[in-house]
Amino acid sequence: MNYLDFEKPLAELEGKAEELRAIARANEEAHVEDEAAALDQKAADLLVELYGSLTPWRKCQVARHPERPHCSDYLSNIFTDYTPLAGDRGFADDHAVMGGLARFKDRPVVVIGQDKGNDTATRIERNFGMARPEGYRKAIRLMEMASKFNLPVVTLVDTPGAYPGKGAEERGQSEAIARSTEMCLQIGVPLVSVIIGEGGSGGAVAFATGNKLAMLEHSVYSVISPEGCASILWKDSDKMREAAEALRLTAQDLQKLGVVDRIVDEPLGGAHRDRAATMDSVSNTIAAMLDDLQGMDAAALIKARREKFLAMGSKGLAA
């Protein structure tokens, strides 16, 4: 288990309990079960306390947790017949973006998402979830196909942002993001999105501009990273806690602002502490969002999407 800095006391308690149990296993004479159970209880109480009131910055940390379930985990757990489709037909296949055909509860859909990778090798392969123009162009191609064959689109958003690189800029990062957002708005099929970790700026908008948007309880969605905001507005990147607070990037604040439609509850201690439960909740939420759009034709879906964004933000936090 990978512990976050604020989970240090928790790590100590859980570590001690584990140690006691190891002693018990080695020596049958040692009666430490009661003691271990007491530590477990303490750890459980602490977990409730810590996760009952996560600050915005701590939520950012949880959202970026290396063991948090990633796009590939959802693809293999809540979809069947996942058939990856590759390439932008112009330059390359971007491995930061996964996508293709799949069945969701038996129904064929197009699924697209960013994946950050689960270990060093896959993190590098996936470029830490930071797409290049090819990734957005692959998404555009898949959304067009979905629209042509009347398949709903499900997007899973998890990216620190679009990749800031020389080649990415030369090949039109801005244009690719703009066109992907445009495609999100013009397809005549349901588009539902879930922010499963980090919704980083324009790189997230290009996938998340749908009819319905859900966020995991401890995921974040922001115009800029708290560190980036802190270094610009506070001239001090260590002020990320203050910046995270000010930016209102939590699922809870975003729901108040009318940006997010649903919040998916996470298991106590974050999505990574009970992956199976997380998968179930996300699956149920996707199903509910698709149900909400049942019976709407192409024109109605496009109109609803536009009206949603045109009205967005008109009331501020009072929405």
Binding site: S174, S201, G202, T209, V223, A246, F309
Partner: protein, 358 residues
């Protein structure tokens, strides 16, 4: 301020005199002119307030270092007459030069909720807004207007980099939506001049949501079959580039404009190597297939007229000086008189201003 000599005080006095005279002139025209003075005075004020301070009488080109007389520079749309470097120009100045006879009507922009996140960094957002409003005399970072260019009716929207770096928040989004709506309602094309450091961080997620909102505006134009022309000016970066500024039917940039998603500094940090000469500049983007054209500001109007008239199936533009629209004749002579009054005093100041700089 070692340079603060009596000469500067003298210059300020001359500037103030310049400001005073034409207003007195206007007042002498009596009550019938009241509406004109009410209408024209703010414009005259803005013309003269720019000339009040001595450092504004002369500008140094940041590219070649040539000292340029303010009037000469503004007459050339803030393009250096020596090296062709394009300096910043406010939205209002751009419109005055763009529209025939400098005549345009502002299109109303719905006012968004103020400070929607109750954002506070080291300063409160409303305080930053007030400061920007005071500095620029503008309400927000985008101006929308309708009028004619080369007798071709258009709607134009222009982002003002001098207002909080032209950053895109709810107001800018509302402005683009209002511009597109007005274009659709009147069947006119939309010309959008972009300039922005990116999103307005103080509006958090709501600034990010202007990417989809403005994209809806572009789609409204597309559906109505109306041209949407983007003129990218220095600098256009971040979420602005990654939405409405890259979705034009025709993409034109001013020379040497920085146009990017991620800024050169961020990229240099990421890849840890030196970036090529001219990276992310207009000419570089043109070469990489991201733009249709790179056009000098001084030639932009003629080019826009030519392109729009073809896209709108209108006959070719009439070349040469057109007579001013009738409505202009009521107002223009006074403004020009005011201008002339001011410039009369200026040649005499020239030597003094040079002395100050030396």
């Amino acid at each position: 301020m070692a340079c603060c000599t009596p000469r500067i005080a003298a210059l300020i006095a001359i500037g103030a005199k310049g400001l005073y005279l034409p207003l007195k002139e206007l007042r002498r025209k009596g009550t019938a002119m009241n509406w004109i003075s009410n209408y024209v005075r703010p414009r005259i004020n803005s013309i003269f307030s720019r000339r009040e301070t001595p450092e504004n009488l002369w500008s140094k080109c940041d590219e070649c270092g040539t000292m340029l007389f303010h009037r000469e520079l503004s007459g050339n749309l803030n393009v250096c007459t020596s090296c062709g470097h394009h300096m910043a120009i406010t939205a209002r100045d751009r419109f005055e030069a763009l529209f025939d006879g400098g005549i345009f009507t502002e299109v109303d922009v719905p006012q968004p909720v103020a400070d929607p996140l109750q954002f506070k960094d080291q300063k409160k957002y409303p305080d930053r807004m007030k400061a920007a409003q005071k500095d620029t005399g503008e309400k927000e970072a985008m101006l929308v207007a309708e009028g004619e260019i080369g007798r071709t009716p258009i709607i134009a929207a222009c982002q003002d980099f001098s207002f909080m770096a032209g950053s895109m928040g709810m107001y800018v989004g509302n402005a683009i939506i209002a511009a597109a709506q007005r274009a659709v309602d009147t069947g006119k094309p939309l010309v959008l001049f972009s300039a922005a450091g990116g999103a307005r961080m103080q509006e958090g997620i709501l600034s990010l949501m202007q990417m989809p909102r403005t994209t809806v505006a572009v789609q409204m134009l597309k559906e109505a079959g109306l041209p949407y022309i983007v003129v990218l000016t220095h600098p256009t970066t971040g979420g602005v580039t990654a939405s409405y500024a890259m979705l034009g039917d025709v993409q034109i940039a001013e020379p040497n404009a920085l146009i990017c998603f991620a800024g050169p500094r961020v990229i240099a940090q990421t890849i840890g190597e030196k970036l090529p000469e001219g990276f992310q500049r207009a000419e570089y983007l043109l070469e990489h297939g991201m733009l249709d054209r790179v056009t000098k500001r001084t030639e932009m109007k003629a080019e826009l007229v030519q392109i729009i008239r073809m896209l709108m199936h209108m006959p070719p533009p009439v070349m040469g000086d057109l007579p001013k629209p009738d409505s202009a004749e009521l107002i223009e002579p006074d403004v020009e008189a005011a201008d002339t009054d001011a410039s009369d005093g200026e040649p005499a100041d020239t030597s003094k201003a040079e002395d100050v700089k030396e």
